[in-house]
């Protein structure tokens, strides 16, 4: 009995269920990331505008998302919206909305940081070479910004993948919840199962995030 905790993984459909849970995790986070990156780039450019109104709006949005715990945002989107307006959003949709809002805010701030890190003399030099605004952006600013953004974006992406474990609280069974279900269903017969199940979950998260890191490394090398 002592060392048979691992057998829990191969009982019935347990392993398949873990993979299904991983798919839920990845589906939500990848949709959110794919939406957040373009929206975040736009938002970051919006943030660097000199107009006081646009600055105030983006400031409030960023601070609101940054200060609110993601769990609270999820509850607002899933339960709060139903209470206040009677709109019944599904758990999937609420999760994607919340993670996209969060990702856009964070990505926007990263883009803003990368944009203002380009020294002013680069703009001046571009102007001296006779480039117009679009050319300056396309040939000088964007290539440098992109390179600075890659590690930051990867960081954000992996963080989003891991934070999706919060969606259990709005009823979605993602990989970590499936793990807890398996551990709990066997807690009387296989008390040692927890170690194995969490070990596998660790491995699954690693397998999900590692290719993204590798891709980033490749891009960084290519754009050096």
């Amino acid at each position: 009995m002592q060392d048979s905790g691992i057998s829990v993984l191969f009982m019935g459909k347990n392993f398949l269920r873990l993979l299904e849970g991983l798919w839920v995790t990845l589906r939500i986070s990848l949709i959110a990331v794919l939406l957040s990156i373009p929206l975040g780039i736009l938002f970051g450019m919006f943030m660097t505008m000199k107009n006081p109104v646009s600055r105030a709006v983006s400031r409030v949005y960023l601070e609101f998302i940054r200060i609110m715990p993601q769990l609270v945002l999820l509850f607002i989107a899933y339960f709060g919206v139903t209470r206040a307006f009677g709109w019944n959003l599904s758990a999937d949709v609420s999760a994607v909305i919340v993670f996209t809002l969060w990702g856009t805010a964070e990505m926007g701030d990263l883009v803003r940081g990368a944009l203002i890190s380009i020294p002013k003399h680069q703009y001046d030099s571009a102007a001296a070479l006779g480039m117009n605004k679009i050319q300056t952006f396309g040939y000088v600013v964007v290539p440098q910004t992109m390179r600075r953004l890659i590690p930051l974006t990867i960081n954000l992406t992996t963080r989003m993948i891991k934070t999706t474990s919060l969606v259990v609280l709005i009823g979605m069974t993602e990989v970590l919840k499936v793990g807890k279900q398996i551990i709990d269903a066997n807690r009387f017969d296989y008390p040692t199962a927890a170690l194995w199940v969490y070990g596998v979950i660790f491995l699954l998260y690693f397998l999900a995030c590692w290719p993204i890191s590798m891709l980033a490394k490749k891009l960084e090398k290519r754009w050096r």
């Binding site: 829990v8 339960f79 709060g80 009823g171």
Partner: protein, 286 residues
């Protein structure tokens, strides 16, 4: 430059307060908002599906087996509800923190997740008749078994902070010395090490633990006032609530919950427990 800063601060303040007000207002008028979202009994029957919120990781009350099927004491009851309504059942996995919200917003038709009836919760959801009750249990080592509360006077009793056991013994048995711990794991370790003479908490919890730990027995398995556990529906959903109450009364006649106990809990609690201390038939406590 200074004036500009002030201007931005002002705008920030205004927008932030607007957001705050709108979110508070959102919580405020839930009375009107929620009234629409529940489904009446007829609507559930018509749709051919009832949505029930259960635990998915609290064996033996609600859990998922290795084939991905929901099982447990609550689920056994849920299956019967669906059968008697003549509809399919869809389970939603809930957690302790989100149970009230699920019922209050009508995202599920019924919550059947080991939901203890309390006054605060009753303001947010409507409880049906109870189908289970929880009292305190006292577990102690076999060689110094405690079978009566009086035996505890002057002895060290282990409790977990914030549990009903703590308040119950402080109020009713001041001559029992309490050893308080923050977490269950610490309390159980203290009992295993012999730092205290006995440990008290919910009887369901100590009964299951004693089975896992030979050498320890639950000498007292029903102490104090019973907390009841009942299904909950969204506030105002009277058609469903009435049907549920009727159902629980009818099921009492066939001793349904004893059968439920035998099928799901008996193997966990073993012979140590008396089903009558846990099960409520027909919604009548005692």
């Amino acid at each position: 430059m200074k004036r500009k800063n002030l201007f931005i601060k002002l705008i920030t303040l205004v927008v932030a307060s607007l957001l705050l007000v709108s979110s508070l207002a959102g919580c405020g008028d839930n009375k009107d908002g929620t009234a629409v979202s529940f489904r009446t009994l007829d609507e559930i029957k018509e749709s051919g599906k009832i949505v029930i919120g259960v635990f998915s990781d609290k064996a033996p009350f609600g859990y998922v087996d290795e084939n991905g099927k929901y099982q447990g004491y609550d689920v056994y009851f849920a299956e019967r509800i669906a059968k008697d309504l003549g509809v399919e059942v869809e389970y939603v996995s809930t957690d302790p923190a989100s149970r009230v919200e699920y019922a209050a917003t009508g995202k599920v038709d019924i919550i059947l997740a080991n939901f203890t009836v309390t006054e605060e919760r009753a303001q947010q959801v409507d409880f049906a008749l109870p189908y289970m009750k929880v009292k305190l249990g006292v577990v102690s080592p076999d060689n110094a078994l405690i079978t009566d509360v009086e035996q505890l006077s002057g002895k060290e009793l282990i409790v977990v902070k914030g549990t009903t056991a703590e308040t119950y013994f402080e109020k009713n048995y001041p001559n029992v010395k309490l050893q308080k711990y923050d977490e269950y794991a610490d309390a159980y370790n203290a009992l295993l090490d012999g730092r205290g003479d006995a440990f008290s908490t919910d009887n369901t919890e100590v009964l299951a633990w004693a089975i896992q730990n030979p050498g320890f027995t639950v000498g007292i398995d029903a102490l104090g006032n019973a907390d009841t556990i009942a299904p909950a529906v969204q506030k105002g959903n009277t058609t469903l609530l009435d049907w549920l109450n009727n159902e629980i009364e009818t099921l009492g006649k066939e001793n349904f919950f004893h059968a439920d106990y035998a099928a799901t809990l008996a193997s966990v609690y073993g012979d140590a427990a008396d089903p009558d201390n846990l099960v409520v038939e027909g919604g009548k406590v005692e």
